[in-house]
């Protein structure tokens, strides 16, 4: 396997590098045959993994449609968004961090913490209009602290966000050790209300919030100077610094964004569960990281799309749905499937980037 990976790249490099290399990997092969263009799309390190994820999602959905009665419906598809709205928001924040080459392990604990804050404040009679902004500010500040630790004190992102994870999870227990249910009318209203889309289909307000976050993130990453700096830092921090880009500010801001997204995801999660519980969302950070990786973002940073991460979440969601439809398969198969999928995608990324070099 390794010989296969290493030998051809070294042999072929001079020929391919000059000839079809740069143009061959470009997605817009206007004058070329469609088959070659599709091949170029699949093998480009930038678009390849996303394309494969998209194809995989469609394939799983179609297979599910053939296997199970009632699977092939619009509502099953929409429920992927309804059930995973919070995970989409988390994956968006995580994408920003991973694009710079960092990682955020604290998101799961922050989701639990914001749920706990929401539940306990609402219980004492605070208004949701005050509680939600407070949560978003608090989690953004936590992200800011992590960002400062990472940038100013050069603590590795892994360790800094690990400390934040312990802090958030610990604070959950300090607030309460047992589950607090939410009875606030606004929250209940947001939890049960459905927005009809016609033809018997409906979504929840959470889905709209999640999609707005995704749209904003796409705009920020591809339409603003900040977004380009994020990609530049992932491509090479030193080069970004030498180009005069605001590396320090951007690196800190990325963790603030992730903190904000985790807080928002926590609020969406409480819309879904209508309670706060200190043990909830354990391991969610791994789901978010897995979604981002399956969505084609390179863990070393520099390559990847927010929409890819959304696709990653949908793939995780559709696997979960199939397991529900299957009925006989137990929940641990989800973990094994996700692990296997991660493996496939990482090897795929490896092959694609090796080919490029």
């Amino acid at each position: 396997m390794t010989k296969l990976l290493e030998a051809p790249t070294t042999n072929r490099q001079p020929r391919q590098g000059r000839g079809t290399g740069p143009r061959g990997t470009a997605p817009t092969g206007s004058g070329r045959r469609p088959l070659a263009a599709a091949f170029g799309l699949l093998t480009s390190p930038k678009y390849g993994p996303v394309t494969v994820t998209g194809l995989l999602f469609v394939a799983i959905f179609v297979i599910g449609g053939f296997r199970y009665r009632g699977f092939f419906s619009g509502q099953v598809f929409l429920n992927l968004f309804v059930d995973n709205a919070y995970l989409i928001v988390l994956a968006v924040g995580m994408t920003f961090v991973i694009l710079t080459g960092g990682i955020d392990l604290s998101v799961g604990a922050v989701v639990a913490l914001s749920g706990m804050i929401a539940a306990s404040l609402l219980q004492t009679g605070w208004s949701p209009g005050v509680v939600i902004p407070i949560i978003l500010v608090l989690t953004s500040v936590l992200g800011l602290l992590v960002g400062l630790m990472v940038h100013v004190f050069k603590v590795q992102p892994f360790i800094a966000t690990l400390a934040a994870m312990f802090l958030a999870r610990g604070l959950c227990y300090v607030i309460s050790q047992s589950s607090i249910s939410i009875t606030d009318p606004t929250f209940v209203q947001l939890a049960v209300s459905r927005i009809p889309l016609g033809a018997g289909l409906s979504i929840t307000p959470s889905v709209i919030i999640a999609l707005v976050v995704v749209a904003l993130a796409v705009w920020v990453l591809h339409g603003t100077r900040f977004g380009r700096t994020v990609y530049a830092i992932g491509g090479g921090e030193q080069s970004g610094l030498l180009m005069g880009l605001p590396v320090a500010r951007t690196k800190v801001l990325v963790y603030v964004i992730s903190g904000f997204c985790s807080g928002l995801a926590g609020v969406l999660f409480t819309f879904y569960t209508l309670s706060g519980y200190p043990l909830t969302a354990i391991g969610t950070e791994l789901d978010a990281i897995a979604a981002v990786v399956i969505g084609g973002t390179l863990l070393t940073g520099g390559y990847g799309f927010v929409l890819g991460s959304v696709l990653g979440v949908l793939v995780l969601g559709v696997i979960q749905t199939i397991l529900t439809f299957e009925g006989t398969l137990s929940s641990w198969w989800t973990k094994i499937f996700i692990g296997a999928l991660l493996l496939v995608f990482i090897i795929l990324q490896k092959v694609l980037t090796a080919r490029r070099r």
Partner: protein
Amino acid sequence: MSALAKMASNRLFWPVVMLLVLFAINLVAFPGFFEITVRDGQLFGSLIDILRNGAPTLIIAVGMTLVIATRGIDLSVGAVAAISGAVACSIILGSPAPGSLATVAVAITVALLISLVLGVWNGFLVAALGIQPIIATLILMTAGRGVAMLITEGQILTVNSPPFKFLGSGFWFGIPVAVIIAAVVFGLAALITRRTALGMFIESVGINPEASRQAGVRARGLLFAVYTFCALCAAIAGLILTANTAAADANNTGLFIELDAILAVVIGGTSLAGGRYSLLGTLVGALVIQTLVTTVYTVGIPPIATMVFKAAVVTIVCLLQSPTTAEALSGFRRRLAVRSGKGVAAS
């Protein structure tokens, strides 16, 4: 002053200070903290408890130190611990004589052999396929818990086997068996890597993999060995944890232990960027973490707040060890020296 400065520049300085501070807090809250009594020929006392409860973390941290020294990381240790516990318990449960020594020996051997396979798998992903260690081991971390649940079929397996229980809560010559196992693992790792050139090879791979390959170090084999050793350590720790409660819980055995182990290594002054490592530092780090947990109990802080304190200690140690702090401190010292130098000149 210069002796103190020399000491402060030692990597072990801040972790040891932290440990001493924790000991002092304990002593104030509980005057009998350092007392060790002998009851029925067995040692008892707070310090013994710290050693015994910290043994699994220390064992994993030893393996983790070597992995981190090669610029890697192993997130799968908790899952490997859960798998080994699940394998051992299901073998003991399935045998006709769960209490016999032979059954337990077979169970332990099989569990350790399986962990070797898992370690080779991690090593294959990292060394042969060249996947980033954090992601390569994330695969087993996610899938491993699923595999452990598959083995236990989602149940908590409770075993009634005195020889197996001995592993977790037994005493040998008055010393807890878990502590003896941890000491043996620590001693072996120190002996093999520090009395041979192996440790230097590991460090060279961590500092610059390409340069060490060109210098003739066989990085690939070394990575395989290191990840396999780490998985073996995880399995040993998993067996101790499982034996201690006499139950295999696929969901909770070794949950978050990878984080504790990595923390122990980082507190001990080994950089996650690879290169120079300190097994002694890891020992101190593991003791700091376990003492912290004990402190929370003795001082009377509700145990639920343990994680907040862990976060505080991690943050403090990381900030103290940060190059930014070192720079600021040395700048301060220089300014101090300049001022005193001026004073001397004036007089």
